[in-house]
Amino acid sequence: MDDRNKHWNSESLTRIPYSLYSDNLIAADEQIKLFLGNTWNFLCLEAELKEAGSYRTTHVGETPVVVVKDDDLKIYAFENRCAHRGALIALEKSGANANFQCVYHAWSYSRQGDLTGVAFMKGVKGQGGMSSSFRKEDHGPRKLRVAVFCGLVFGTFSSETPDIQTYLGPEICARIERVLHKPIEVIGRFTQALPNNWKLYIENVKDSYHASLLHMFFTTFKLNRLSQKGGVIVDPSGGHHVSYSIVESDLADNSYKDQALRADNDQYLLKDTTLLKGFKDFDDGITLQILSVFPGFVLQQIQNCLAVRQILPKGVDRTELNWTYFGYVDDTREKRTVRLKQSNLIGPAGFISMEDGAVGGFVQRGIKGASDHNAVLEMGGEYAESSEGRATETSVRGFWKAYRTLMKI
């Protein structure tokens, strides 16, 4: 295909054409082949749809979507587009509805996305009305297949996408189950507007190479855990990943204090160390687990700080990053306070994440005028497989492996 010649002239995953971050045709193709194609897209948390009628509006790629719980307590999702003229059906971010009605001409829809009412369908006083051949059943917004896994609600527009557990694979499923093993509740929502193509953010999430180089907070305040072990898991499709690190449990409790004592006098130490005072959420010693699901979902555990992130393209050079912070329903007050304090590490003002909001923009600005050049992705080899160390770009190459498969590019 011509596109392949235009953007990529080899099968290698170690060179990424910069044009992929700025080409409007590629962005339009992604909407069809990725977001509306054979992928599962995160819609919301099950915990956000508390009762029958609860709904949220969100997006799959740039396509607006309504996700709603019906009386059967099942979750349904449909395109947020009236079948009449295409106006948004639901305007609020969230709410509770018996049914949905488009404001423009009052066409109404059930919670399952079926067109149930057309205003003046029989006309007014015998005048007007829809033609006798019009059947409501033939019209309606596109419906999504919905899958709920561990309280994560995913949707797909395609009938061919494999079931969610097959899509994720056993290793990713296990790592999701590890974090979402009991009921959760939302403790805050924040959105970050990123001045870059969406792929630059998901690459950043998967890039375990940059973490200790760009994010200096832990290093500066001598909070590095020298005993850290870790690794990267890349699923066979390449599209999903887990990056994790483990602190040896015998060192975990005293290492901050010991390091504080050893630190040079001229080095700054945190004045209020309660910021990082944590507790053991998990028995496996893993203190950091970043997990991504292709194309744009992230589940994070950074110490006791738990969140999901939804990555949505907004045109070729803008991205919306939706953070939803959560805790467990059975958290004690003390545990909840720990999570709230540790949330200083993440989000738009996070000590170890604020830089990620800016670096994508540095790339987006840096590659202007270089659309026939490539990014280099050779750290840790040429492949996209699981790896012991974290000085690797293996899961970033994995993203491109899945991307090329679905985009046929």
Partner: protein
């Protein structure tokens, strides 16, 4: 009693400290065990407690400034705070609750200038005790400043405090 004019004067000094890059002064506007949090109007409506900044001590504010100076990486930028007239909600001998609207413009080193945040401060002011206040001319301190942003969206990142 803490009167309106003292709060106005305090807020003017607070804004000037941030906007003129005297960030090391910023924690001194707070009591030792002050609460400072940045959130948005939707979280307040839904009663969700998290913040993009969440501090419950002055030391945490000092740590944030140290991190901005020493650790965090962000493009050079300035703010210009325009603060409205405080709306006093309740007053006692020792403390005053007030809401003050803000409009913060962010000016990047490139010259790009945007409305970065609007919203209101939900404040509790108390009288400063002893001489530990570096803003002693004001004689009042914040025991609480909840920064409630009108928009749920933060552009790029939030480095400097609001």
């Amino acid at each position: 009693m803490i009167d309106l004019i003292s709060i106005c004067s305090f807020n003017a000094a607070y804004a000037m400290a941030i906007d003129s890059d005297n960030l090391e002064q910023w924690p001194n506007f707070f009591t030792v065990d002050a609460v400072y949090r940045i959130t948005n109007i939707d979280n307040v409506k839904d009663n969700l407690p998290a913040g993009i900044v969440y501090a419950d001590s002055r030391d945490m504010l000092e740590d944030r400034i140290a991190a901005l100076r020493l650790a965090n990486i962000y493009e050079r930028q300035r703010y210009r705070h325009i603060l409205g007239i405080p709306n006093i909600l309740s007053q006692s001998e020792d403390s005053t609750e007030a809401n003050t609207p803000f409009n913060v413009t962010r000016i990047m080193a490139t010259g790009q200038m945007d409305v970065f945040a609007t919203g209101y401060y939900q404040d509790i002011f108390v009288k400063a005790k002893g001489s530990n206040s570096a803003v002693s001319s004001n004689q009042i301190l914040l025991a609480q400043r909840i920064v409630v942003c009108d928009s749920t969206v933060t552009d790029t990142l939030l480095a400097l405090p609001l």
